[in-house]
């Protein structure tokens, strides 16, 4: 199989399979989570707190006071990675073209230099949080195979994308094929690992905010 054939497979059948597994898995998990339900709360709400769930979505997305001192790598690394990853994912023109091809939606992209900086920042942040995870005894104890798998599956698309964009080390066609394949791996794993937080993060934040609001905890 030549590099171009690999790329063609990745853009064709590979992408279809990955997206199908991803869509199947996300729907399955969402149905399962929502249908589980919660026990009816028979106690009276402590205070009327409309919008508590929505406020928590915002407040939990902002850094809590003291985190910078307690866990600087998690704090900086976490934000830099998520922002860098989002910029790279949503504002690199070829990525927007992909979304346009799939859904018809499109928006303006950023110059590649800006995306490049964001990608490098995300890569460095990922390396930093991994180093911290490995060197911090508590974090290391808390980490399982799935945590390292999630890290790897997130890291590979960034790395291969960077190699492809800068034509580093390997042939561009192969780099692009590997990049798309690594994203497909990420898509396949997303619904069934901790990576599902991409979909569930705001749902769980809303739920937590709402339930704590009922119990009288300010969001």
């Amino acid at each position: 199989m030549s590099n171009l054939e690999l790329l063609t497979w990745a853009r064709g059948p590979g992408l279809s399979i990955a997206l199908a597994v991803c869509a199947f898995g996300i729907l399955l998990r969402l149905f399962e989570i929502f249908s589980l339900g919660r026990k009816a709360d028979l106690s009276k709400a402590r205070e009327h707190s409309p919008g508590s769930g929505w406020r928590t979505i915002v407040s939990r997305s902002l850094p809590p006071p003291g985190l910078m001192k307690r866990a600087p790598v998690t704090y900086i690394g976490g934000y830099v990675f998520h922002l860098g990853f989002a910029i790279t994912l949503f504002f690199f023109v070829p990525h927007i073209e992909l979304v346009r091809g799939l859904t018809g939606l499109s928006w303006p992209g950023l110059p590649t230099q800006v995306v490049d900086i964001a990608a490098v920042a995300a890569i460095l942040a990922l390396i930093a949080v991994l180093a911290s995870r490995l060197s911090n005894p508590v974090k290391r104890l808390l980490s399982g195979v799935q945590d390292y798998l999630a890290w790897l599956l997130t890291f590979l698309p960034l790395l291969t994308g960077y190699l492809a964009f800068h034509h580093l080390l390997i042939d561009y066609t192969l780099a692009l094929a590997l990049h798309i394949l690594s994203v497909e791996l990420l898509l396949v794993a997303l619904p069934f690992t901790k990576l599902f937080h991409t979909v569930s993060v705001f749902i769980s934040r809303w739920y937590n905010g709402d339930i704590f609001g009922r119990k009288g905890v300010a969001s």
Binding site: E5, S16, A23, S35
Partner: protein
């Protein structure tokens, strides 16, 4: 190479090419092939002394576009003249003879120059049925094997001869294969393109005449000097790609300003060829300069590598139906799981036994 007849330099002089023009050609060839300037005299000396090498040109399943590309330059160039001088022993598009006489010329050239002649092939070879393509009643496969047996080297010109090309496009009705699939015991060099750039052919021939060997080849059997870099890397529109400036349609403002054609399906990033540097028609232009994206014609199987007008980052086939079906399947599976969980919950509730303090005290 010991051939009879006039040297190439003599022939060129007869055609009215000055020594200055000849040396200029040698210098251009050396720089095109990334050879040091000190090699120019060596190339000139080799070409001057080289006798007209015998070249047999076989055309199989092809469209004659490669021959057209090489011979129909607007004004006769040194490249064209060198090519014409060396390629006339047998070429059934260009030669005057036909039928028995043409085949006799081929056989004579093979006999007289056994082991020394160059075999140039354009077109793919059908393996499905020998009758799909024949010349003078001889199948392409037999003619290729027979002619390659006495050749010094084989040059597969054009994407059909190099990779199977258009005839091998899915579903490949004739079972077309490239030259390299059949000839295993001779050096085979691919000069792909649909058609290939004329100067690449002459550059390679000049290399063969100067060094008596084929130049260094890449994984696809292509001379690295010409196919070593992607069109994208050498494209004069590359800065627009880096700035995120793209033509959205072939007639919008971006297209008029000469912005990058990536979104219009340009395959420059995955195509390795010399178009962006040597250009076409004596350096006049190349497809991207003329406003059309690269279609990747020098890559294997380019015809089956997705739509020509879809960007490289876009999916090749529509995925909506499959993803929609998978999502529906996921919803159904999720609902089934919900029912199962609910049933488990209910049976757990039903099986729940209440224990009172009195029960516990009794148990003591």
């Amino acid at each position: 190479m010991a051939f009879d007849g006039p040297t190439i330099a003599e022939t060129l002089r007869r055609q009215g090419i000055s020594r200055r023009g000849f040396l200029k050609f040698c210098a251009t060839t050396a720089s095109l092939m990334a050879l040091p300037p000190s090699m120019v005299p060596a190339i000139a000396a080799a070409l001057e002394q080289a006798r007209r090498p015998s070249v047999i040109w076989l055309s199989f399943q092809e469209c004659t576009g490669c021959t057209e590309s090489l011979t129909r330059s607007h004004t006769p160039s040194i490249e064209g003249l060198i090519l014409e001088q060396i390629s006339l022993d047998y070429h059934h598009t260009l030669q005057a003879a036909s039928g028995e006489a043409a085949e006799a010329a081929r056989e004579a050239a093979m006999r007289e120059n056994h082991g020394k002649y160059l075999l140039v092939v354009d077109g793919s070879i059908p393996l499905g049925n020998p009758g799909y393509s024949t010349i003078a009643g001889v199948s392409n496969l037999d003619m290729l094997k027979e002619t390659a047996a006495g050749a010094a080297a084989v040059i597969a010109v054009g994407s059909c001869a190099a990779y199977g090309g258009l005839p091998a496009a899915l579903p490949n009705p004739t079972g077309a294969v490239p030259v390299s699939a059949i000839i295993k015991d001779k050096p085979v060099m691919n000069v792909p393109g649909c058609p290939p750039i004329p100067v690449v052919i002459t550059g390679v021939l000049a290399h063969f005449l100067t060094f008596a060997a084929l130049p260094e080849l890449d994984d696809h059997g292509r001379p690295k000097v010409f196919y070593g870099e992607s069109i994208h890397d050498r494209c004069y529109r590359r800065p627009f790609y880096d700035q995120g400036k793209f033509a959205e349609t072939f007639d919008d403002e971006g297209a008029r300003k000469g912005w990058c054609l990536f979104k219009l399906g340009c395959k420059g990033p995955v195509t390795y060829n010399a178009c962006a540097t040597t250009k076409w028609n004596q350096g006049v232009s190349f497809p991207i300069q003329s406003g059309h994206g690269c279609i990747g014609c020098s890559e294997p199987g380019f015809w089956d590598m997705g739509p020509l007008y879809k960007p490289l980052s876009m999916p090749i086939a529509p995925v909506q139906m499959m993803v929609g079906a998978a999502a529906a399947g996921g919803a159904i599976a999720g609902a089934a799981m919900a029912l199962r969980n609910r049933a488990a919950k209910q049976s757990a509730q039903a099986a729940h036994q209440k224990v009172t303090v009195a029960d516990l005290e009794k148990a003591k």
